[in-house]
Amino acid sequence: MYAQLVDTGTSKLRSLADMSPEERAFQQRIDADVKVEAKDWMPDAYRRTLVRQIQQHAHSEIVGMLPEGNWITRAPTLKRKAILMAKVQDEGGHGLYLYAAAETLGVSRDQLIDDLHAGRVKYSSIFNYPTLTWADVGAIGWLVDGAAIMNQIPLCRCSYGPYARAMVRICKEESFHQRQGYDIMLALCNGTTEQKALAQDALNRWWWPSLMMFGPPDADSVHSAQSAQWKIKLLSNDELRQRFVDQTVPQADHLGITMPDADLKWDAERGHYDFGAIDWSEFQNVLKGNGPCNRERLAARVKAWDDGAWVREAAVAHAAKRAKDRGDRHVH
């Protein structure tokens, strides 16, 4: 989802008997729900996979600030503007918690940023879609943050301590995000015909990309099986997607708008909503870099980083000078 396709470097899942003694002890601790901490021994593949997963997640938070940031100056009221700024600032905070969690695994912040800018590591496909109207800000909070929460709550129990703790902090902040989005949708749907049409149009454009956030069907993915064994992925993509659909459809009913899916219907026997086929070619295409905003998003991040270089350098120079001044004073 925020980390949609994480390569675990594994080609087949191994049983305890096939593992080295160290690995076996590691897996047994995970099976017993003992958290792995930064300085504990861990298999290289576990470390590498986590770095990829956590940094995809962190990049998603940071790049995710862009589509909503686009509307801060044009929010319809001062109240909405203050709320949106707080929401976008939270996302920046989430990125920072997650970068810090990734750094406990022995990568530097600069390396992580460089991986993003060089295109070596992805962020969630969802942030490559444009925010065309104010209703999109509502739809993002409601659907995108809603989908994020669905994925992040189980991660609070993941095996890696620093990641789990970051997720706890993030989850506490996310429910405000989802509610403020739904609140925007409510206002639009209770407004004029034009306003309600904006809400419906936003739902039409964000619904399918939101379902893609959970990643491709993972029934036959070896990476998912490995991540599940390591407890860094606790529920399957399809399970989470179904939960999201089940929770969201009644919310749309309440708004009086409809999902753009002719096949969507309640299945009393399954106790779930059935929904139409997802266009995975669109998802793959966005991941490859050909979504509506991929180039724009990355360019905005690189520009922000480059434009900030002089600030980072000046701060280091200032700190060095102050440290030197203090040193000189101590001598006298």
């Binding site: 300085k39 810090a100 701060a315």
Partner: protein, 94 residues
Amino acid sequence: MSTEWPLWEVFIRSQHGLAHKHVGSLHASDAEMAVKNARDVYTRRSEGVSIWVARSSDITASSPGDREALFEPANTKVYRHPTFYPMPDGVKHL
């Protein structure tokens, strides 16, 4: 020139009189900036009334390999806990 700012560990004391608690880490060029950044990153919802920051490189931690040597001795000393002592029925305030 690499300008990656050093890493700081952040500790926050909440309003309820509890001790400072480790909440995470962040980058800052000096201590003053670390406190300001900690305010923005870790106390956006009045989570604290006091912030400590310490450079991560200044922290000495016990190593996982020493776990047994450090903590095992306490395991056999169950008599340090009040539940070790059975109290007869009817005896109160003890």
